[in-house]
Amino acid sequence: MWMSSICFIWGVFFFFLSLFMFYWVIYLMMNNIVYFLEWEVISFNSVKIEMGVLFDWMSMLFMMFVFLISSVVILYSKSYMSSELNLNRFIMLVIMFVLSMALLIISPNMISILLGWDGLGLVSYCLVIYYQNIKSFNAGMLTALSNRIGDVLILMSISWMMNYGSWNFYFYLEFMKNDFEMLVIGGLIMAAAMTKSAQIPFSSWLPAAMAAPTPVSALVHSSTLVTAGVYLLIRFNYLFIDSYIINILLLLSGLTMFMAGISANYEFDLKKIIALSTLSQLGLMMSILSMGMGDLAFFHLLTHAMFKALLFMCAGLIIHMFNDIQDIRYMGGISLYLPLTSLCFNIANMALCGIPFLAGFYSKDLILEVVMMSNLNLFVFFLYFISTGLTVFYSFRLSMYLMVGDYNLMSVYNLYEEDYVMLKSMFILLVMSVVSGGMLVWMIFPYPYMIYLSLNMKLMVVYVSLLGGLMGYLVSVMKIYSLNKFIITYKLSSFLGVMWFLPNLSTYGLNYIFLSLGGKMFKNLDMGWIELYSVRGISLILKKNSIFYNFFHMNNFKIYLFSFIMWMVMFLFMLII
């Protein structure tokens, strides 16, 4: 009784907290005000150490979404984790995660951001290794260490920011924009955000982190943890306008979007496909952010959070029904057996593709049209549109694999959908992923974007989507005589299918060099030269000298006094001469 009621208590608590945040959003937006509370802990040699919180509509809105998702995820875990002995621990970890996310969201100060950021990294590590098998340990280590890079970069930016005497970056963004130090800080922050949001050199951890329990994936690796980087960059957005370092981010995030879109088509693990689609959407957010449209990135972040959490929760239910099997090759025909789950899944998938009037439509379509309106090079433009097509491509492929066809696992089976605990919490998100786009597009854009395009340009999104949908249908239909394209283009396919070999880069690639270097250093310096010439050497010299010195103390007292007199006489003679 107690085990299941902890979920209920916390779920309801977070739900009401979310409603409270919604009230705050309305209040702050209506009056166009920002609350900035600050407590000066200590002021030391003109450096102020402060704890600040910033309540503006942006942080409150994000908090509202985070709390809503965490409330439904906790309610959902009641059933999903029902046979778990340590459910208390699990829920506590999730709550700690949500609280550190909240700390990150409301802090305008680098140090408190670091606290939230490190909290996210640590708790997400604990959550990834929640199932204690080798796969989870490896994934957790990869996650933790990739995020650790970001922590270090934030620490470095903190030390750079000490130049300004306070860590409230909020004040310096515009004021110190042309400063060289601020440029360095911006670069560090950008790289840190890239680790957290799994942009290209660091993206291998996000699919690996799918070793976590599915509610965790729904909360952590789809909508909150990975968007922390995007959120941080939205806060730092003023700094990046017209600065050249952001072009690197534009390129890398565009490539991430593209790479993840392609890799999702080769992946067969249900959760990994969704993770890769998250990665693709993160790339979309990052790239529109790096073009200076922070509000659009934020908008997509929110809508994406809704339908991606829903998608993960549906996937979790399916995995639950299939007795932990995640491979979509075993699945099929679930629309017949799990109709309500399939309903949620398809709506979330369509929202992801940007089917009109679902949540994703408002944000993605707006982003793409703004991209078309802006002055952009051809390469990035194609990255955007190919990735949009790829999104529809893998979504359709996934739907086809899951919904259509026969059940592939075994011949005698009975799937049932009586788990209304999970379904109820999914329905909350279902409603949100239908209406949140239309709601937010009115609410959070005080300054609307004007779009004016020619017909073909306007229909470009529709073209690529239709093409992607067609291809998604084609790859998932398998006939006896159809050629296996994977074997035909084996090398290319394996390159694209494993995220352009990025996992190898972040596991074996870099470690090897540094480990071997460290081994050599240890052998030659620590155990060799340093030991001989500094540690042993100094102590030997001191010991020898000390023994030699003790020899002087063996002398006669008479000799000592005599030598003193001699010394005096010597100087006396010098005086006379």
Partner: protein, 337 residues
Amino acid sequence: MYPSLNSNKMFFYFILFLSTLISISSNSWLGCWVGLEINLLSFIPLISNTNNMMSSEASLKYFLTQSIASINFLFFILLKLMWMKNFMLNNSISILINSSLLMKMGSTPFHFWFPNIIEGLSWFNSFILMSWQKIAPMILLSYYFYSKFIIIIIIMNSIIGAIGGLNQSSLRKIMAFSSINNLSWMLASLLISENLWIFYFMMYSFLIMILCLLFNSMNLFYINQLFFFNMNYGIKFLFLINFLSLGGLPPFLGFYSKWIIINFLIFNNFPMVCFFLIMMSLIILFFYIRIIYSSFLFNNLNLKWISIKLKNKQLFFYTLSSLISIFGIIFSTFFFM
């Protein structure tokens, strides 16, 4: 620990303190000499203890060295008076006068009497010798010194203090060598200003007082006594951490004085002196830590029949002064908040 309430000894203590005051407040060299001489003669009866042969040997040695130093001092101040008419500065004669004063305070290269004598003294007399007896010669030195000579002496002091103490097993000798090393800091502070010297000297006397009182109350004379030094771990920790303070490890009070001297030395362009002082105090810290380790970590026996009990009154005093020595620098920062 407390000096016995013997009226004769009280009298000699009185003369000991008074003679130093005579010496340092006199306005002629001859008056200074008189003060030093009285000081010498009043300290000898304080040293001697009829029950202990070592102390009479020490008093004899002390008498010999100090009187030879006094003779030389008298000779050269008279010589200076005759030849230079008291106004001129001459390097050679300043070296001669300085040498005799350095011998009096037990600085290198005339320090050989110092560890020898201290070996025969009680802890309280060692404390007097290491702190009070240094006042008069050092103040006199500050009147008239040849700075290049003193710099050489400083460096030698720091090296000899560090190297000499490394191989000792007697706590009194270790304290003597650490005193030689601290003498180098004091001389360095004399190069800069007398106020700095007073500051350093007060700090040093305070720290050394805590340790001497401690050793006296527990009858500790050799390192191996620390191996079976059986008392409450926390109290032991509190006491022995004073060694780190004396060695000048940063969060403790002993660092404060050294810090300020380092600061002034660098301001006044003595980087080399500063370098030697810091490096050698590292070695000093090394053998302090060795003392502490033996009591804390390994070789530490808890013998049931050796148990050290402190009187409550003493304990309060020691704890208070140890606390000041450990947290003094942290407390003092509150003054500047």
